[in-house]
């Protein structure tokens, strides 16, 4: 039993060779066998089995939802009523959600089964899952290497067959980068495409729920069901919800831009080589492929860091030890209680980003850093979106290196560079997907990232499906 898509699961459920409780037990066994990966923070075995019985009955009656048979893991930043939520942080010790995130409710309403809560970098800040208060997640492909971050648990759980798909969140690459490192698919939709109600905020003008899966069709189906305006999130988009799951598209003679980055030093030669082979393969398939020089890419990361740390310093000010979560017993008055609760509760990376964000928002430096970054963001957004006047899709690597070893990126700045290629879509607010297409000479996974214009997930997903089926290198 090793399913790669819901349609495979449904096929076996329909022909009677599989029952849903059997499938849930299979995943529960795998979770146990893979406990050393440290991907799960909670396993909801009893309720998953209970739901599987009910949904099995619905399947037999023919009135089951569109996601019946789908067993899903959830990153520890998304609320499910009465379930623990900690954003992998000590500051949320003992916290239980008071409501369910809109996106998750929509999946449950279509009979998805939630099997557990998944480890991540604390408050989704990190690119290696080394910043979790619950310890790092191991990469299932090579336990000496990181699974990527911040949705590292989500990627590891899907890659090790502990669930069919998982939800993550993507602020600067946190779905795409771990998907690339664990050799699966990671989709970041257009900003505002999915309601953020019930998502523990990191940087609100970037955060978006994303999907980690083994098939493009599952990513498309989950997106279609989660998408749509939600009155609990006034920034959620009113753009029409398209039939993403149909994966309908015309793939004849597309115009594709291969994004070049002049500062190629530090980029793995095997990854560069792989991008060249994808490029020639697309040409052979009859597409028009052009190289795009995009030196402005180097401004995307600093823009991202100024704006996200600023937003994080504001968003995380709510964690004060008063209404929920960790409260220090060492405070002697209100102010010292705040300071000690926050200093004991937040980990090193989170404290560093709060400090940087507080600095860039402080009166003397606001214009020089924060306003400047907001201007560069508009400049980069215009520049990036204008690429789609000319090209149907833009392709670039997901990451500059294959999955690295624990402790390898020693300074914060080295770690930031892991997001070099993913932040552009985040800064511009456009959709992007990482596809598990290549391998390095060492056999490590290479993710290929495809970007398209805002609210064109229908085209992006059908092209991704085509790439997964057509490119010869994917079958090597």
């Amino acid at each position: 039993m090793h399913y790669r898509s819901l349609s495979q699961v449904r096929n076996d459920l329909d022909n009677g060779s599989l029952t849903l409780p059997e499938l849930v037990r299979h995943y529960l066994r795998n979770i146990e066998e893979n406990a050393h990966l440290n991907a799960f923070l909670s396993v909801y075995g009893d309720s998953a089995l209970e739901h599987s019985e009910k949904i099995q009955t619905k399947l037999l009656k023919g009135n089951a939802g569109r996601l019946a048979g789908l067993v899903l893991g959830i990153k520890d930043v998304l609320c499910i009523k009465d379930r623990p939520l900690q954003a992998s942080s000590r500051i949320l010790d003992s916290f239980h959600s008071q409501f369910t995130a809109t996106a998750i409710q929509r999946l449950i309403d279509e009979d998805a089964i939630i099997i557990g809560r998944l480890n991540c970098d604390e408050f989704a800040m990190g690119s290696s899952n080394e910043n979790s208060a619950f310890g790092p997640v191991l990469n299932p492909l090579d336990n000496n290497r990181v699974p990527g971050g911040s949705s590292g648990g989500s990627a590891a759980a899907v890659a090790s067959d502990c669930c069919l798909a998982a939800l993550g969140t993507d602020t600067g690459g946190s779905v795409r980068q771990p998907a690339a490192f664990c050799d699966i698919i990671g989709l970041k939709p257009t900003y505002s495409r999915i309601s953020r109600y019930g998502l523990a905020s990191y940087a609100s003008s970037f955060d978006i729920i994303g999907i980690l899966s083994k098939s493009v069709e599952d990513a498309a189906l989950l997106l279609e069901i989660m998408t749509g305006y939600d009155e609990m999130d006034s920034t959620s988009s009113n753009e029409p919800v398209l039939r993403y799951a149909e994966l309908a598209g015309n793939h004849e003679k597309l115009k594709i831009g291969m994004l070049n980055y002049s500062g190629d030093e530090g980029i793995d030669p095997d990854i560069l080589q792989y991008m060249r082979s994808i490029s020639s393969e697309l040409k052979e398939l009859g597409h028009v492929v052009e190289e795009i020089d995009f030196p402005e890419l180097e401004y995307a990361l600093p823009t991202y860091y100024i704006l996200t740390t600023a937003e994080a310093s504001t968003n995380l000010s709510r964690y004060d030890g008063v209404r929920y979560g960790h409260r220090s017993t060492n405070g002697h008055d209100l102010e010292s209680m705040y300071k000690k609760s926050r200093s004991e509760g937040f980990g090193e990376e989170v404290r560093r980003r709060i400090l940087l964000g507080t600095f860039v928002l402080s009166a003397n430096y606001y214009d020089a850093y924060y306003t400047k970054a907001q201007k560069v963001r508009r400049f980069l957004q215009d520049k990036t979106r204008s690429l789609f006047d000319k090209y149907d899709f833009v392709i670039l690597p997901t990451t500059p290196t294959p999955p690295f070893k624990f402790g390898e990126n020693a300074t914060p700045l080295q770690m930031f560079l892991a997001d070099l290629f993913t932040v552009l879509a985040s800064v511009a607010g456009i959709p992007a997907i990482s596809l598990p297409l290549g391998k390095t000479s060492e056999g490590l996974p290479v993710g290929v990232q495809v970007m398209s214009d805002a609210f064109t997930e229908d085209k992006l997903l059908s092209f991704s499906n085509y790439l997964m089926q057509e490119t010869l290198t994917s079958k090597a």
């Binding site: 409260r327 940087l356 201007k375």
Partner: protein, 99 residues
């Protein structure tokens, strides 16, 4: 721009964080390294560019102005580290001036 020890103490206070003496040197080093790196943005000519304030180009979605009780009092207090059944309880706020 360099963050000094004094600036670090000031922003730590604003962020309601404490910095342990043994963390200070490393933190100053990291923050200054990051600041030098983000100053790369000054290379971009942004004359006449309006800063992005909202990422969505859509008009505000309003819902009907109806009062609802999203969270019952007992539920609101349920997770509190300390409460008296009606209010959250916190350590003393007003300082004793005689001391």
């Amino acid at each position: 721009m360099q963050i000094t020890k004094e600036t670090l103490e000031k922003i730590a206070h604003l962020a309601r964080l404490e910095i342990k003496p043994e963390e200070e040197a490393g933190l100053l080093n990291d923050l200054n390294e990051i600041l030098v790196w983000v100053e790369k943005l000054n290379e971009v000519n942004t004359d006449g560019v309006e800063p992005i304030i909202h990422m969505t180009r859509e008009i505000n979605g309003f819902r009907d102005d109806l009062a609802t009780n999203a969270l019952a009092k007992a539920d609101g207090l349920k997770l509190a580290p300390d409460h008296d059944g009606n209010f959250f309880r916190v350590p003393k706020v007003i300082k004793d001036k005689s001391k």
